[in-house]
């Protein structure tokens, strides 16, 4: 065939290119080479005037490339996770198969493409079938406790926890209001239950019935009666998806690219309880659809225009066909039922953009216009069957911490708070962003490049398709009390559709790249940029309160009075939705949409020097700064309706709801729900780094990155900030600040095999020896700051996120930090009642344990000719089976009731996971 093909090529070439000039003389060496070039390129159809080679039309398979693969995981290959071992358990179930294919190549359509195609197609499919055990270690009340017998129940210090009878509450005639409440100066007297046992006759029948769905403890990890319910339940995950890509060239100047993707998934979640009262998440259905179309037009070699249209849609539905159940919450025990049991959400986005690039002398200019439109359609009632929250207050000795128990309050049917969601319709939220970006790349002289850019963007606020949005207008007078702050609804009574104006911002950027040496082996880079981000639309029906009622029941005094008796069903709302009265949100935690012109703002600057060294090594050293303000934060970090800390002087009076509420700036509201969308946070991060990259030589490629950084902010953390009125007081290390981070990744191809320096066997042994390679990553990062928390919070709800007090003169560090004692808890103490803690939100010196992870992948490739291969791969995640310590217990108790576990590390986490893969590529 080659003879004929070559002869054909010669004829074609000679016909197309003319006979060699020196027909009568022997061709020169160069001419012979050029002739060979012409022949070969003609044979392969690589010339613009080449006829379609006959064989190409018959070799569709040859022109297509791709792969078939299967990734396999099974618990028999994995190590027992450390956290399971410590709980006395064995490996959880794991069966996972991930399989798929990819194929790409020219699209030939008989009689249409005539053997030569300008259209290329790529298709990828992947399926997942997984069954995996989910484990949780929880705390449930023990068997006597469920019958009201608290005679053996102890507090975290091991002392018997006294339970008081709210029915015996009476004022203490000897109470001295000028002194703080204490055991010797009680404001209210209350008798403990005889023998610390609640009589059976006093148990609430609804609570007793609910307990039938509440499983008994099944383990005894401790300390004391904690960590006594171990969940090991399977989760089933199924998914199928496909990505298709098409590109077509219309001549040399126009290209069209199209892409589509879809994925369908189901998640049968692990059941924490085998009953209808399961507090674990609901089952979910996912779909994802994505498509894009891009047209690239090359007007000239100096001017390119790119137009793109993208669209995407993701949907998730939870709890379909599952029975809902009220939520009974009584910390620290695991709840009954769960929030958002039934939901349906869709996120859609549409983006159009056009970018044009042009080159003029020393300037490369680019202008890009983008318009994005976002939709979130959401139906997400939080508590359709009610939420009952119980606290220790109603079974405590009023004003005295470490008395009473939330579960005991549940047994007595005395919630401190109750709520029910009445969501009548889905919400259809929309917003858009339009931007124009201008950029100039300017090279004033050799070795120096300057990039200047600016992006001008217009951000519109969220609107609802049918204007079913509401918020609290903080300036509007509330008719109920004549104070500012009333419910207002979108596009009514002069209100705008989005409650805040559309905002226009200009974001500049500047970059310099400068070759410091003539050999261009040293580059200095300096960059500065400032940017803004829009306020996103989250799933959920936040900001629709007038249209979707959240009926709430509040206790007038959480230590004296239940919010509502525990019954099978909460009373119906007095004003069924829609309830758009200005005072309709009174006495609730009202949804507050920020109406200011604040937008999250970011700023960053960096300086880097890169140097290329002998041995294919590149070293980069740099420093960077980044900061931000107006970052989006939630309820734990901002509260526009907080009570000023000065009100702590009122002491136990603060438990009187009416009095407590009167101290709030907007007393008609219990609080504000901000939904993580309140633009008030600040952060700053400074970092220095070294990066070393060794490019591949002798089969080894290596990359290492080390960073030293410090990040501070006024919002992060597991518990929230203490002082809403002076945010500077909460300016401390970011809760996830990890000051040192080292990451190493490497690839090594073993130098053995027929084409390698060693063991160059040509016989059957080459199949065993050839094609081995290793890849790995190692990551080590230092611990995050310890965030301490007092065990009790007796501040009358004024300081919801209390920190601890520092004990002067006591070193918080221990000589040899270890699991038995990581830090010295004696250096901290519980703040006195009705005072703020004086320690910072995150400790400036104490760090949680560092974490490390090592992954390794071993591959063996079997070549099946030049184009085909089978590759077997074994990957070990955490392959050293290294355990990372858990964080130490951060709860600090009182001197009389210390947390015996404070400062101790209980357990570790991690465990080797193995995945085997087989891939055939062609």
């Amino acid at each position: 065939m080659h003879v004929f093909a070559r002869a054909l090529g010669v004829l074609i070439c000679l016909g197309a290119c003319g006979w060699p000039q020196q027909q009568s003389q022997p061709p020169s060496e160069v001419q012979r080479a050029i002739d060979e070039f012409k022949i070969q390129t003609a044979n392969l159809g690589l010339r613009a005037d080449s006829p379609v080679p006959a064989e190409q039309t018959r070799s569709l398979i040859r022109d297509w490339h791709g792969r078939l693969y299967e990734n396999f995981r099974n618990n028999f290959m994995d190590a027992v996770p450390h956290e399971i071992t410590q709980n006395g358990g064995d490996k959880g179930l794991l069966r996972r198969n991930q399989f798929g294919f990819n194929a790409s190549g020219p699209l030939f359509i008989p009689r249409l493409t005539h053997g030569k195609s300008n259209t290329y197609l790529s298709l990828s499919f992947e399926g997942v079938r997984e069954r995996i055990a989910r484990t949780h270690l929880l705390t449930t009340p023990n068997t006597p406790q469920r019958t009201g017998d608290y005679s053996q129940v102890v507090d975290p210090a091991g002392n018997v926890l006294p339970i008081y009878d709210a029915g015996t509450t009476r004022a203490n005639p000897a109470y001295d209001p000028s002194q703080s409440v204490s055991l010797t100066n009680l404001q209210y007297l209350r008798d403990p239950f005889p023998g610390n046992v609640i009589p059976a006759s006093r148990l609430n029948p609804v609570a007793v019935r609910a307990l039938q769905l509440y499983p008994q403890p099944n383990t005894d990890i401790g300390p004391f009666f904690q960590n006594n319910y171990f969940v090991d339940s399977p989760e089933i995950n199924t998914a199928n998806g496909m990505i298709g890509k098409v590109d077509h060239a219309f001549g040399e100047r126009q290209h069209l690219y199209a892409e589509f993707a879809f994925s369908n998934g189901t998640l049968d979640t692990a059941k924490w309880f085998p009953t209808a009262a399961n507090p674990g998440p609901s089952d979910r259905l996912f779909t994802s659809r994505r498509g894009s179309l891009q047209h690239v037009f090359t007007a000239s070699a100096q001017t390119v225009n790119t137009a793109t249209l993208e669209t995407g849609s993701t949907t998730s539905r939870t709890g379909q066909g599952q029975a809902a159940y009220p939520v009974y919450q009584f910390d620290p025990y695991v709840s009954l039922g769960h929030s958002y049991p039934l939901a349906s959400n869709a996120n859609n986005s549409y983006t159009w953009s056009d970018a044009i690039s042009a080159h003029l002398k020393q300037h490369s200019l680019q202008a890009a216009a983008t318009y994005s439109f976002y939709q979130v359609n959401t139906f997400w009632p939080e508590y359709p069957d009610g939420w009952f929250q119980f606290s220790s207050g109603l079974t405590s000795l009023p004003g005295i911490i470490d008395t009473g128990d939330a579960f005991a309050s549940f047994l007595l049917g005395a919630p401190q708070f109750a709520e029910q969601s009445f969501v009548t319709s889905p919400s259809y939220f929309r917003r858009n962003t339009a931007s124009l970006a201008l950029h100039d790349h300017y090279e004033p002289r050799r070795g120096l490049a300057i990039d200047i850019g600016v992006t001008i963007a217009r951000y519109t606020p969220r609107v609802e398709k049918y204007d079913r949005q509401s918020t609290i207008d903080l300036t509007r007078i509330n008719p109920a009390n004549g104070r500012p702050g009333a419910l207002t609804t979108a596009n009514r009574n002069g209100e705008s559709r989005g409650f805040r104006p559309a905002l226009v911002r200009a974001a500049p950027s500047l970059g310099i790249a400068w070759n410091l040496t003539r050999d261009s082996k040293t580059v200095l880079r300096a960059n500065y940029s400032r940017g803004y981000s829009s306020i996103p639309i989250y799933q959920g029906q936040f900001g629709t309160q007038g249209f979707n009622t959240y009926e709430t029941f509040l206790s007038s005094n959480s230590q004296l009075q239940a919010a509502v008796p525990l019954t099978a069903q909460l009373p119906p709302p007095p004003h069924p939705p829609p309830d758009l009265r200005p005072d309709a949100a009174n006495s609730t935690i009202a949804d507050l949409i920020d109406a200011t012109d604040r937008l999250p703002t970011y700023q960053s600057a960096s300086l880097t020097i890169e140097r290329e060294l002998p041995g294919s090594i590149v070293v980069s050293v740099g420093a960077s700064y980044s900061g931000g303000r107006n970052l989006l934060i939630g309820d734990s970090a901002a509260d526009p309706n907080a009570i000023p800390p000065a009100a702590l002087v009122y002491g136990n009076e603060l438990y009187n709801l009416a009095f407590n509420q009167s101290l709030r700036p907007y007393p008609q509201f219990q609080g504000f729900e901000l939904y993580g969308l309140y633009p008030l946070g600040r952060y700053r991060r400074d970092a220095g780094f070294v990066r070393v990259e060794k490019r591949a030589s002798m089969g080894l490629a290596l990359s290492a990155y080390y960073e030293f950084s410090k990040q501070l902010d006024d919002y992060s953390g597991p518990y929230g900030i203490q002082d809403f009125f002076n945010r500077q007081n909460d300016w401390s290390l970011t809760s996830y600040d990890s000051p040192q981070r080292l990451q190493v990744s490497y690839t090594y191809e073993l130098p053995v095999g027929p084409n390698k320096p060693f063991l160059t066997y040509a016989d059957w042994r080459r199949y065993l020896i050839d094609g081995w390679s290793f890849s790995g990553t190692a990551t080590v990062y230092s611990g995050t700051p310890v965030a301490l928390r007092p065990e009790f919070n007796n501040t009358g709800g004024v300081i919801p996120n209390l920190t601890v007090d520092v004990v002067p003169g006591v070193n918080p560090e221990v000589a040899s930090p270890g699991p038995s004692l990581w830090f010295n808890p004696a250096a901290f103490t519980q703040p006195a009642d009705f005072t703020m803690g004086d320690a910072s939100r995150t400790n400036p010196t104490l760090r949680n344990p560092l974490a490390q992870n090592y992954d390794l992948s071993v591959s063996k490739r079997f070549a099946l000719g030049a184009e085909r291969a089978v590759e077997f791969n074994a990957t070990g995640f955490d392959f050293l089976n290294h355990a990372n310590w858990n964080d130490p217990d951060p709860l600090i108790g009182t001197p009389s009731a210390p947390n015996v576990d404070a400062g101790k590390i209980i357990g570790s986490r991690g465990g080797r996971v193995i995945q085997l893969s087989l891939r055939f590529s062609f």
Binding site: E29, A33, I34, E36, F37, T41, L46, A48, G66, Q98, S104, Y120, S124, F125, I132, N237, I243, D247, A249, E252, H255, S263, G265, S288, T298, A301, S357, H359, S364, H441, E443, L448, A449, A513, N515, D519, V523, S616, E693, R695, A696, S697, A701, S745, T747, E749, N755, P757, S773, S775, T777, D855, S859, R861, A866, A869, N873, Q915, S917, S921
Partner: protein, 311 residues
């Protein structure tokens, strides 16, 4: 009809026997340090292949004729990168010695000849300046045929032949998928993408096996070195492929380095010698090549390995 099949069989048999000079001689790119003006001849070199003495039968020097196959793989559409590259290429081609022929091809959206090897610098400059600066990256898809073509030219002629790729491509911009993108976003336990470089490494391994048997040296200039993990693996792969053929890869980390990288590549290509070595009988597999100067007063760098089919 049977006689036709007989002829086809006969033709296949004829093609099965390699022509003389194809198997028993190899070409090795060499660089000499020291006095560039001093002339060298075959007698100045001593060569061994797998430890056995080999005769140097010819030397092509930097002053001799050369055919450079310049393959442009400009697919990013980023004129801040492509324009300085085009200008530098034009400048460097203008500076080439008269005996250097340049063949011009583009590889984005598939390999295509733009100009047969020629010394017409102005025509080449015009082709380079007018080249479409976007499309699908094509280096990995075209490197094998272009090296085979160059190899075939080397075998047909004593003239030096080299391949130079100039690319700004992103590994994500290939028609063939090397990125292994997430397909099922709801699959939260997917660990198969923790080592995203696997696919590109596999492709490089396949190509490396093919290029190890090609004798024409290849150079690659990456105009836009990217530092994400996937492109790092891609860049390492480009370097490996170029070095397998005896060439080298140059990387530009910023637009200011583009002229330097291209200039260095032209200098290295232009300064290479091409030695023709005769092979011992029955040699095959991976050949270890060792070269030295008879007078031993100039240091050498050269391709040290070549894979030949076993006979």
């Amino acid at each position: 009809m049977r006689w036709r099949w007989f002829l086809v069989l006969l033709a296949l048999c004829a093609t099965g026997a390699p022509p003389r000079g194809t198997f028993f001689q190899i070409r090795v790119p060499v660089w000499l340090e020291g006095d560039p003006d001093r002339e060298v001849s075959a007698a100045d070199f001593r060569a061994t292949i797998d430890g056995a003495e080999s005769r140097v039968v010819g030397v092509q020097c930097p002053d001799d004729e050369m055919i450079l196959l310049l393959v442009l793989d400009l697919s990013s559409g980023d004129l801040t990168i492509i324009d300085p590259a085009r200008q530098t290429l034009v400048d460097e081609i203008q500076k080439l010695p008269p005996k250097t022929y340049v063949g011009l091809l583009r590889s984005q959206d598939g390999l295509l000849v733009l100009s047969d090897p020629t010394t017409d610098r102005d025509a080449l400059a015009g082709q380079i300046r007018s080249l479409t600066p976007n499309g699908k990256t094509g280096l990995l898809a075209t490197v094998e045929p272009i090296c085979r073509i160059a190899d075939s030219m080397l075998k047909k002629s004593a003239v030096r032949t080299a391949v130079l790729y100039v690319t700004d491509g992103d590994v994500r911009n290939y028609r063939e998928d090397f990125t292994n993108p997430v397909i099922n976003s709801s699959d939260s336990h997917d660990l198969s993408r923790r080592f995203p470089e696997t696919l590109v490494q596999e492709k490089i391994a396949k190509l490396d096996g093919v290029l190890a048997a090609q004798q024409a040296p290849m150079w690659i200039v990456d105009l836009n070195q990217r530092t994400d993990r996937l492109n790092e693996a891609y860049n390492n792969g480009l370097k490996q492929l170029a070095e397998t053929t005896g060439g080298a890869a140059f990387f530009s980390r910023s637009t200011t380095e583009i002229p330097v990288a291209i200039r260095q590549s032209f200098q290295t290509v232009q300064s290479h010698y091409s030695l023709t070595l005769s092979l011992p009988e029955r040699v095959g597999g991976r050949l270890q090549i060792r070269l030295s100067m008879v007078e031993n007063n100039r240091s050498l760098s050269y391709r040290t390995h070549l894979v030949l089919p076993r006979r």
